[in-house]
């Protein structure tokens, strides 16, 4: 498996983005950090394939330098 970087979410993508933000509503910064962390762990486990996860980490990290 390799990381899919093409669009993969279908018509609900804007809604999902919104729901993601919605989940953080009313949270302290600390709680938000923990929510994000939990989400990442859940998704990482769902993906399972270490290569794919590593690629995702590298990509996200590289995006910081842009």
């Amino acid at each position: 498996m390799s990381l899919n970087i093409d669009f993969n979410l279908g018509p609900d993508s804007d809604k999902l983005f919104n729901e993601l933000l919605g989940a953080h509503e009313g949270l302290s910064r600390e709680q938000s950090e923990q929510l994000n962390a939990g989400l990442i762990l859940i998704l990482m486990n769902h993906i399972g394939d270490p290569g794919t996860v590593r690629e995702a980490i590298t990509r996200a990290r590289a995006a910081l330098d842009r």
Binding site: E30, N36, A37, G38, L41
Partner: protein
């Protein structure tokens, strides 16, 4: 039950200082901690004499190492004190992990049966040292144990080593072929050699207390993240023999060790853990820990073993257990070298295999430490996320790290390993410690496979495999399971080994195996594994 009575071992004026003939031995061992003592016994089982010097004259003060892993117990069994340890120790295999006061998961360290030794026993280090000292006395001609003999310095050349020793009666010099530095975490020899002890220091302080109390806690390891009785920190509870419980409390990096050790500060903390039961303090210490090792364990004729070579945080019980792996790995090789059977290059494999093992212990222990005391911010966020997810998601339980407990090191990449056959499809692999299994003897008695492996080299023949006696090299023992001798009473040998011929090292590791063994293959594997001078 009385608390442990420390009986000082007698000091005897060494022969060098009372006009008797000075003694020498092929191996000088500095330090009579568990590692030095075990090394002396292991060498003695190979017929190799040693002189052991220790600057002290009592066993370990305080319980220190309490968790002895299955693999160490197998090694202790080979050395003759396994049954005694098992009888006295508290057997356990279940760990429970709590977040707050709620159990988030538990783990079973030995889910299968058919092994002589359990996953773990808890037994205070002072008992282990006492048993080892008594076992040394079974080898009066081979082990010369000298208390209140402090090593001052050591020198070496191509011919051997010389150790300058100080005693209550004055100084003298001991000579030998090799010297084992088993002088612990603050090794004087390591400092004399100017060796860097590289790694990491963890600022976090821990209170460790042994308390004596009557309680009906089961024999399990209990670990709490942020319990209500000790908010914001972690706590660990272990049961030991004699109604002694080990309690570990994380105190944070700013705790003052001297203050925290005072009974008026310790007692209220313990009261909260044990919930009002009456108890007596047996031993208290406050420590922070290191994960470090020296670069090389073999320095020509001076060899570092145990804590002098590597230290880890205690949460995986990898310190003493890791040192026992060292002893197991080194002694048969050293015995072959000092008796001229093998070239000294064989010792290089001790360096390679045990540096590899130490790194495994260090990385596991460091990772546990990081999980237990995360940096504020994102590290804390991930740690806490994993902990709360663990309550109802199985995957997160595997991420929670309350100690990755000592398991046998797998030497699958060792240069000593010989042939393997991809046709084997069984749990046993080349490079792994042989898996134990129940047997019955030809006379019908219950027995264990492990009791018949180790010491020397063994060719283990399992299942339908055959081995022609004519191709068995000199000095190698053959153990046949099934064919009219030992009986695979529960089918575990078949399940764990399948059918084949296994070459097992003196430290009970499988070094090569064949579906169909021939003389050439066996000879090649044996000489690869022994750096043999005659092959």
């Amino acid at each position: 039950m009385a608390r442990y009575q420390y009986e000082p071992f007698p000091y005897v004026t060494p022969p060098e200082l009372d006009g008797r003939a000075p003694r020498s031995a092929p191996v000088i061992i500095v330090g009579a901690g568990p590692i030095g003592l075990a090394a002396a016994i292991d060498l003695a089982t190979h017929g190799v004499p040693s002189i052991v010097v220790d600057d002290n004259n009592v066993v370990s003060v305080g319980s220190r190492a309490i968790c002895w892993a299955k693999r160490s117990l197998e090694i202790f069994d080979r050395l003759g004190i396994g049954d005694r340890m098992l009888a006295k120790g508290v057997t356990w295999k279940l760990g429970r992990v709590y977040r707050g006061d709620q159990e988030v998961y538990n783990f079973d360290l030995l889910p299968e049966d058919g092994h002589k030794f359990p996953a773990f026993i808890n037994l205070q280090q002072y008992y282990v040292e006492e048993y080892l000292v008594e076992r040394c006395a079974d080898y009066p001609d081979l082990i010369d144990l000298r208390f209140k003999n402090r090593l001052l310095s050591v020198s070496q050349d191509e011919a051997g080593v010389a150790a300058d020793i100080e005693t209550p009666d004055g100084p003298y010099t001991l000579r030998g072929d090799y010297l084992l530095a088993c002088d612990g975490a603050n090794s004087r020899i390591r400092r004399q050699f100017g060796l860097d002890f590289d790694g990491r220091h963890f600022e976090e302080r821990f209170l460790i207390a042994d308390v004596e109390m009557q309680a009906d806690f089961p024999s399990e390891r209990w670990f709490w993240f942020t319990p209500t009785f000790h908010p914001g920190q972690s706590a660990l509870l272990h049961k030991q023999p004699d109604n002694i419980y080990r309690i570990d409390l994380q105190l944070g990096p700013d705790a003052d060790p001297e203050e925290e050790k005072k009974p008026e500060n310790v007692i209220p903390r313990i009261e909260k853990v044990v919930g009002g039961r009456p108890f007596k303090l047996d031993w208290v210490s406050v420590y922070s820990f290191n994960c470090r090792r020296i670069d090389r364990f073999v320095h020509d004729r001076v060899i570092f073993v145990g804590d002098s070579a590597h230290v880890v945080s205690p949460f995986g019980a990898r310190g003493g257990n890791g040192g026992m792996h060292d002893v197991d790995n080194l002694c048969w090789k050293l015995a072959r070298v000092v008796t001229g059977q093998s070239d000294a290059t064989l010792l290089e494999s001790y360096n390679d295999e045990r540096v590899y093992g130490a790194d495994e212990n260090i990385s596991n222990s460091s990772w546990t430490s990081r999980f237990m005391s995360p940096e504020p911010g994102v590290e804390m966020a991930f740690r806490n996320a994993a902990l709360s997810l663990a309550v109802d998601t199985p995957f997160a339980r595997r991420m929670v790290n309350a100690g990755r407990l000592s398991v046998p090191c797998r030497l699958t990449g060792s240069a000593l390993n010989g042939d393997d056959d991809p046709a084997f499809d069984v749990p046993q692999q080349v490079g792994m410690v042989a898996l134990d299994a129940p047997l019955t003897t030809p006379g019908g008695d219950a027995d264990w496979l492990m009791r018949h492996l180790g010491g020397g080299f063994t060719l283990l023949v399992t299942g339908d495999a055959t081995l022609d006696d004519a191709i068995v090299p000199d000095g190698v023992t053959v153990l046949r399971i099934g064919s009219g001798s030992f009986h695979d009473s529960e089918g575990k040998v078949a399940a764990r080994y399948g059918s084949g011929v296994y070459l097992v090292r003196p430290d009970q590791h499988v070094t090569a195996r064949w579906k169909a063994a021939d003389a050439d293959g066996i000879r090649t594997a044996l000489s690869l594994c022994t750096a043999s001078v005659t092959a």
